[in-house]
């Protein structure tokens, strides 16, 4: 079962400017900065109270993040839900005939994640996350 929102992700053009902006406007504080696999993107996770927002800036052309930035000018990209059992969530979705972007969870150092295809979720990209 889905337990809570882990984070909301926003695609931005200039991550330094965006991080400064959100910090100044709303009081967000940095949790972690990193560069994604293959140098495809850079991310800035920030928090205020229980809210976690991830800023993502594409670093290369031609990936999903850079297409989103070009087409939409950036903005809300995905919502990440925490679940206790990601395999069960995936099975439920597949049993309903819904598509996932990855049918097997991806292993991250501290979590397993999978993305539900927006076609099944009213055009919302949803990330499922099971934390270790």
């Amino acid at each position: 079962m889905i337990q809570k929102i882990d984070h909301i992700a926003i695609i931005v053009k200039d991550i330094k400017k965006a991080a400064k902006n959100y910090t100044e406007m709303f009081g967000f504080k940095e949790v972690e900065s990193m560069t994604g696999p293959g140098g495809e993107y850079t991310s800035f996770m920030m928090a205020s109270g229980d809210i976690r927002i991830e800023l993502l800036q594409p670093l290369k052309e031609g990936n999903g993040f850079s297409r989103f930035l070009e087409k939409k000018g950036g903005g809300l990209h995905h919502v990440s839900f925490v679940t206790g059992d990601i395999m069960k969530e995936i099975e439920t979705l597949k049993a309903q005939g819904r598509k996932l972007l990855n049918e097997e969870p991806m292993q991250l150092p501290d979590a397993k994640i999978a993305f539900v295809h927006p076609s099944g979720t009213e055009n919302v990209l949803i990330e499922l996350m099971e934390k270790k």
Binding site: K4, I5, K13, M25, G75
Partner: protein, 132 residues
């Protein structure tokens, strides 16, 4: 400071189908569904644990909401962040030279709300909410 995600708003084409989808997929429960006479939308409130989703189906052609559906195919519309002191948040945002859509909070039955202009927040529509 902003403390938690009050809700996430999603624009949908068919609200009944969307309510059923989110119930089937993740177990969201319908709390309320309403249509204001003469209004531009049907709204539904869905809950799962601490997560609240607001679904909007536009009912009038040519409104901003309807344009969002037509142009983007629906999807993530805004995020609402809860604060204890909305007037202080607005003052802080304005002091940074950032634009608000509402410079004075709008009073609704159980809350005060105000929207930050997307140009100030990396193309994200952010609603500030102070609950009573």
């Amino acid at each position: 400071m902003v403390k938690k995600i009050d809700h996430i708003a999603i624009v949908v084409k068919d609200i009944d189908k969307a309510i059923k989808s989110y119930a089937d997929m993740f177990g969201f429960k319908l709390e309320s569904k309403m249509e204001f006479p003469g209004g531009d939308r049907i709204a539904a409130n869905l809950k799962l644990g601490d997560i609240t989703l607001e679904l909007f189906q536009p009912v009038k052609p040519g409104t901003d909401l309807d344009k969002f559906l037509q142009e983007k195919g629906g999807g993530l519309y805004h995020i609402a962040l809860a604060t204890d002191d909305i007037v202080k948040e607005i003052k802080n945002i304005k002091s940074k030279g950032k634009k608000m859509i509402h410079e004075e909070p709008i009073v609704i039955p159980n809350a005060k709300i105000a929207f930050v202009h997307p140009s100030a927040a990396e193309n994200v529509s952010i609603e500030l909410v102070e609950r009573k």
